[in-house]
């Protein structure tokens, strides 16, 4: 004779826990999203609205004017005539025209970095994970050690060498240096991943007639999709967000990337605030979209490092 199933009544502790979690979640959300939402809100305000005190958290007269200006100047068209005049100074500089080209530069560099990272890191990671060769330990130490040196310390020699080679102000110099800076982490993620694949799989494929390279291409690579996505994401984000090296190695819009152009507006006191925020939004949108869409992959890539560490 079975007892009737009873649902547990909502007890006070449970309600409190629910309420506590809700409050905590709200706080976290505010902390994380607050500044970004303010950025977005500011970019949608007219210059008159943006200088109101107290500030309008939600724009009362939202406008896409700033974004239109970015697109227009970027495509070589003249600035659209503004609506109501800005209340205080502040204007959209002609260098706004550089935003779109800079975005293109950033995109070109980022995509190249993704491709090159995969090309360089995948074979290296396989060798480190599955081949027991002399000096393997030393190689692992060495690869990680290259990232200990702070970027600032690399800037000086990089700058001198690049200048000597006449490669200042080219995307090529950015691509090469970014590659050196992102590849160790990619190797780390992929090596951790390959190590988790069974050794026997490697052995079976070799006995079946695969050379080492063929094992990588035919057996391990098809199984590595999540890790490859994680590596691609990290490489893209690192490249898109990089600032210091781009600051040093680029001089004109020919090679300047998005962060550089945005930074140039930040230090210009005459630039309109809402425009500034719009430029910021432009820089922020691609990484945010990628991060939110691929959260699973990013977290597993990061935790691969944590589990090992």
């Amino acid at each position: 004779m079975s007892e009737p199933v009873r649902l547990a009544p909502p007890t006070l502790p449970r309600l409190l826990r629910g309420a506590g979690l809700a409050v905590a979640s709200l706080v976290l959300l505010l902390y994380v999203l607050g500044p970004v939402c303010w950025l977005l809100s500011s970019s949608l305000q007219t210059e008159r609205e943006i200088v109101s005190i107290p500030p309008h958290w939600i724009p009362e007269a939202p406008t896409l004017r700033n974004f239109e200006a970015i697109v227009a100047t970027g495509l070589g068209r003249p600035l659209p005539t503004a609506g109501p005049d800005p209340a205080s100074g502040g204007f959209i500089p002609s260098t706004a025209a550089n935003l779109l080209p800079a975005m293109l530069n950033s995109l070109v560099v980022a995509v190249s970095i993704v491709a090159l990272n995969l090309l360089v890191a995948v074979p290296a990671a396989y060798a480190l994970a599955k081949i027991r060769f002399r000096g393997r330990q030393a190689a692992l130490y060495g690869i990680l050690a290259t990232r200990v040196v702070p970027d600032i310390a690399l800037v000086v020699p990089f700058f001198l060498v690049i200048r000597k080679l006449g490669l200042l102000d080219t995307l090529f110099s950015l691509i090469v240096t970014y590659l050196a800076v992102t590849v160790p982490f990619s190797v780390f993620i992929l090596t951790s991943f390959f190590e988790q694949l069974p050794d026997d799989l490697d052995k079976a494929a070799r006995v079946d007639g695969c050379s080492r390279v063929q094992v990588l291409l035919r057996v391990f690579l098809p199984l590595a999709r999540p890790a490859l996505v994680a590596v691609g994401l990290f490489a893209f984000l690192s490249s898109w967000n990089e600032f210091l090296l781009a600051l040093m190695f680029t001089q004109t819009a020919a090679s300047q990337t998005l962060p550089i152009i945005v930074a140039s507006f930040t230090s210009d006191f005459t630039v309109s605030f809402s425009f500034l925020n719009a430029a910021g939004v432009l820089a922020v949108v691609p990484p945010v979209v990628l991060a939110v869409l691929f959260e699973r992959h990013i977290v597993s890539g990061l935790t691969a490092g944590a589990v090992k560490g």
Partner: protein, 363 residues
């Protein structure tokens, strides 16, 4: 086809540890050879050396007359079944089996024929389009066998392929494997730690320990005439009883003494052994009691009586040692009783206590 020859082969790691050393072994064409031993004895390393998956640091490995030391794994005509099966998770069963043939650029029609043929023999034809993740352990094992079979290799290697199966499945698969060997008529080298498996499957057994060969021989040789204490105790279930004692010369013959226990040896034995007053270990298998009533006996007090279905085992206390023997199922023996069990003099094994080597070996 291949005879495999090891001359002085060893594998030493960079930190100096030797997984295998001084290996001298000739594996005959079409032989079913089993490498038997506890974990860490070097049997898997030896197998991997045949496959080319482990570097040989000393000695020479030959297939027929060709030196294979520096030939990489993917260039050897060897197929292997792994303990973990190692099926390619992203390929269907068909593709798993076909992979080796594809890598060797077998023409498509021939490839299909062979794969379907193997699948039929292993009764896995309905599974061909599935992925390994959708199969049971036994099914995966058969796919692994299929993958190796289909290659028709010169040498067929198996690394504890049955260890992950349930006991009943294991016994059924043993028969399958023997059958496979008869069909394929190729050299099989099989690694296991299960001595019963070795005894059922092998043409010859190589018993290994700590990286070296203890003994090579047919199952009968190994079981009946173990050359070391280790071999004697590794084979046989229940394990052989080992009694330490002394061998003394008395009345022109040899007697094994331990405390009050005295077992005279038959004269032929004594003649073969020679020197006396040695410290020895006497090996007695559980089934070696019985025989004519006159002759040496084993005296002791019954400690436990263990009926085991078809047999009756008793545990005796003999001079401070626990001795397990098998007796007639009908015998009525109770605990605490003192018994005197007849022994067959020639079925006793004698080993030098210091070296562990059999005293009969010299003969």
């Amino acid at each position: 086809m291949a005879t495999i020859s090891f001359r002085g082969v060893g594998k030493r790691y960079r930190n100096g540890v030797a997984a295998v050393h001084g290996l001298d072994l000739e594996i005959a064409h079409q032989e079913f050879l089993v490498l038997l031993g506890p974990s860490g004895c070097g049997k898997s390393t030896t197998l991997n050396m045949i496959a080319g998956l482990e570097e040989i640091t000393e000695g020479v490995l030959r297939f027929d007359d060709q030196v294979m030391n520096n030939v990489p794994a993917h260039k050897r005509d060897v197929a292997m079944v792994f303990q973990s099966y190692a099926l390619y998770p992203h390929k269907t069963v068909f593709e798993n089996i076909a992979f080796g043939l594809r890598m060797r650029r077998t023409p498509e029609a021939e490839l299909r024929r062979r794969v379907l043929d193997a699948a039929e023999r292993l009764e896995i034809t309905p599974l061909l389009e599935r992925l390994p993740g959708q199969l049971s352990g036994g099914q995966r094992q058969r796919v692994a066998l299929g993958r190796a079979m289909v290659r028709r290799p010169a040498v067929f290697l198996m690394d504890e392929p049955l260890s992950n199966l349930d006991a009943s499945l294991r016994i059924a698969m043993r028969a399958q494997i023997r059958h496979l060997h008869a069909q394929m008529r190729t050299t099989f080298v099989y690694v296991t730690h299960d001595q019963a498996e070795a005894l059922t499957l092998a043409d010859r057994i190589v018993v290994m320990r700590d990286g070296a060969i203890q003994q090579i021989g047919t199952p009968d040789d190994i079981y009946e005439r173990p050359q070391t204490v280790f071999v004697a105790s590794f084979l046989g279930s229940p394990a052989i009883n080992l009694l330490e004692g002394e061998l003394t010369s008395e009345d022109g013959g040899l007697v094994f003494r331990r405390g009050a226990l005295a077992i005279p040896l038959p004269p032929e034995r004594a003649a073969r052994i020679g020197r006396v007053a040695r410290e020895v270990v006497l090996g007695l298998r559980a089934e070696d009691v019985g025989g004519r009533d006159s002759g040496p006996t084993l005296d002791g007090r019954v400690d436990t009586v263990m009926p085991a279905g078809s047999d009756l085992f008793i545990g005796l206390k003999v001079e401070g040692l626990d001795v397990f023997v098998r007796v007639d199922k009908q015998a009525r023996i109770s605990e605490g009783e003192r018994v005197s069990l007849p022994l067959v003099g020639n079925r006793l094994h004698l080993f030098d206590r210091a070296s562990g080597r059999s005293l009969d070996e010299a003969a």
